[in-house]
């Protein structure tokens, strides 16, 4: 009598053959599967954190001119996008401090997290699992954890900015035989009668522009210089209203009842049933059509 899977004289031989054959296949499959189950030596640290700028009104991604991103105590350059930054977390500690410099202001973030090492295998060595992200802003910005587990492509931390209530949008139009059609201009430079940033593409033509209005005055003059060295002077007049819409933003100045005139363009307020066209929105909506 053998010590493995002996034949049994009291069982139907055909039946036992099937049993032994199928059992052998099963055992073989189990052993092969066991041999194949070796750990993989990749993704050993999930320490990337994606910080994104967002609008406080709707949580949508915001486009921001980022000048620099740095981690306190570290002299490295990190991947920047115009909607945020991708940073590595220090897996030897539980916190890092991040400085975000954009054209509007400098924001400070204190990011906390949990680090749990794990021995993976003799070949791979250890890995580090980061989790339980927390974030606060010593600079008083509105920040929130969107996904508490670092790594991957998801957005982990949102930096919410208060509404910009002073950007008027004009669309360039022209009259044609088939009606009003889109027009384009190539802007060389802009200037305003107060200190303001106007962000527009440095190359190519524009069919619309967002222009800043002075929230400390009831009128703003803006000069557009085009690529053919001609100029257009635009004047906006409006009313200012102070109110608190978002608690974290405090009392803000809102602009209503905007009127526009220009020396080169014929400025017409657009008609819309979806929004009040003489008020300012964030993100901006078209307030005026500028006809050449």
């Amino acid at each position: 009598m053998g010590l493995s899977f002996p034949a049994f004289p009291y069982l139907c031989p055909l039946f036992m053959n099937k049993v032994i054959k199928r059992a052998s296949v099963l055992v073989f499959c189990v052993l092969v599967a066991a041999c194949l189950e070796q750990p993989d030596c990749f993704n050993l640290i999930n320490n990337s954190v994606n910080i994104s700028y967002r609008k406080i009104a709707d949580g949508a991604l915001d486009t921001v001119a980022i000048e620099a991103v740095s981690i306190v105590g570290l002299d490295s350059v990190f991947a920047l996008r115009n909607t945020g930054a991708l940073l590595p977390l220090d897996f030897t500690k539980n916190t890092i401090s991040v400085v975000l410099d954009d054209v509007e202001r400098t924001r400070l973030l204190a990011i906390g997290y949990r680090v749990q090492p794990q021995f993976v295998s003799e070949e791979c060595g250890p890995r580090f699992q980061l989790s339980d992200l927390t974030v606060s802003s010593p600079s008083g910005d509105s920040v929130r954890v969107l996904s508490s587990t670092p790594g991957g492509n998801s957005a982990h931390i949102g930096v919410y900015r208060c509404p910009r209530n002073n950007m008027v949008r004009i669309a360039f139009k022209q009259n044609a035989s088939r009606g009003v059609i889109r027009d384009t201009v190539v802007v060389k430079s802009t200037s305003a009668d107060f200190q303001a940033f106007t962000i527009y593409p440095s190359a190519g033509s524009l069919s619309f522009m967002n222009l800043p209005l002075n929230s400390n005055a009831s009128s703003t003059r803006i000069t557009l210089q085009f690529s053919d060295n001609t100029e257009a002077k635009l004047t906006f007049t409006y009313n200012l209203v102070r109110k608190t819409v978002y608690q974290v933003c405090g009392e803000q100045t809102f602009i209503t009842n905007v009127r526009a005139s220009a020396d080169v363009f014929d400025m017409e307020m657009v008609e819309s049933s979806r929004y009040v066209t003489d008020s300012i929105y964030d993100p901006p909506k078209i307030n005026f059509a500028a006809f050449q």
Partner: protein, 222 residues
């Protein structure tokens, strides 16, 4: 999908036996055990002799209630790993599994078994790791971390055979598909290996036990 493919494989291999036997009536006496069967896993000492990262044992006990075999398995396991970069990991702990096997060779006069079953497993263990690594941005990391009295639980689907070799001596194997592992990950160190379950890097795993068994008779089987 892989776990479900594995389950399907087990079901297909055993379904033939499940449905190929005629239904018959069972009297109440069939549910009185004919004996208590004690088993000792031969894989564990073999593995300990061949692999220097493992030490442990496993034993089992079951009784026959007609074609149903309530089973308890207990064991002890210790693992010790060292990586090429100097990191080390050790654990030691006890485990038990409880469940039922269903014999599909119910007409066999010797009560030989080809079975399908299920288990609930639970382990209590201690572990320690020295984690060493270096990173071009964040520098070096060298820490020794410990977790004590951790518990883990899991489920198993089992299949296997039990064959009477001579008088009270039996041999048999159990193949296990282990899944639904629940770990206590509140410690500073994440678990690498759970005694009785295996490595934790994947959501499912396989196991194999080959038992030498002794059946202590209670009554004579018909």
């Amino acid at each position: 999908m892989r776990p479900f493919n594995n389950i399907l494989l087990i079901i297909l291999l055993t379904s033939h036996f499940a449905f190929s036997q005629k239904k018959d009536s069972v009297n109440a006496k069939a549910f009185i055990p004919t004996g208590i069967r004690l088993g000792y896993d031969l894989v564990s000492p073999g593995r300990a002799a061949l692999v220097n990262t493992f030490d442990g044992f496993e034993a089992s006990v079951d009784v026959d209630l007609y074609r149903y075999y309530p089973t308890v398995e207990i064991g002890n396991s210790a693992r010790s790993f060292a990586s090429v970069n100097g990191s080390t990991y050790t654990n030691t702990g006890d485990y038990w599994r409880a469940g039922v096997d269903v014999n599909f060779m119910k007409k066999d006069p010797e009560k030989n078994m080809f079975f399908l079953g299920a288990r609930y497993g639970r382990a209590t263990y201690d572990e320690e790791a020295t984690i060493i690594t270096s990173d071009p941005v964040w520098g070096s990391y060298n820490q020794t971390l410990q977790n004590e009295s951790l518990t883990a639980r899991w489920m198993e689907l089992t299949t296997g055979m039990r064959i009477k070799v001579w008088k009270i001596f039996w041999l048999g194997y159990t193949a296990r598909f282990k899944f639904s592992l629940k770990l206590d990950d509140s410690g500073d160190l994440l678990t690498t290996d759970v005694p009785g379950y295996g490595t934790t890097d994947r959501p499912t795993t396989w196991g194999f036990s080959y038992y030498a068994l002794v059946k202590l008779p209670i009554r004579k089987a018909k």
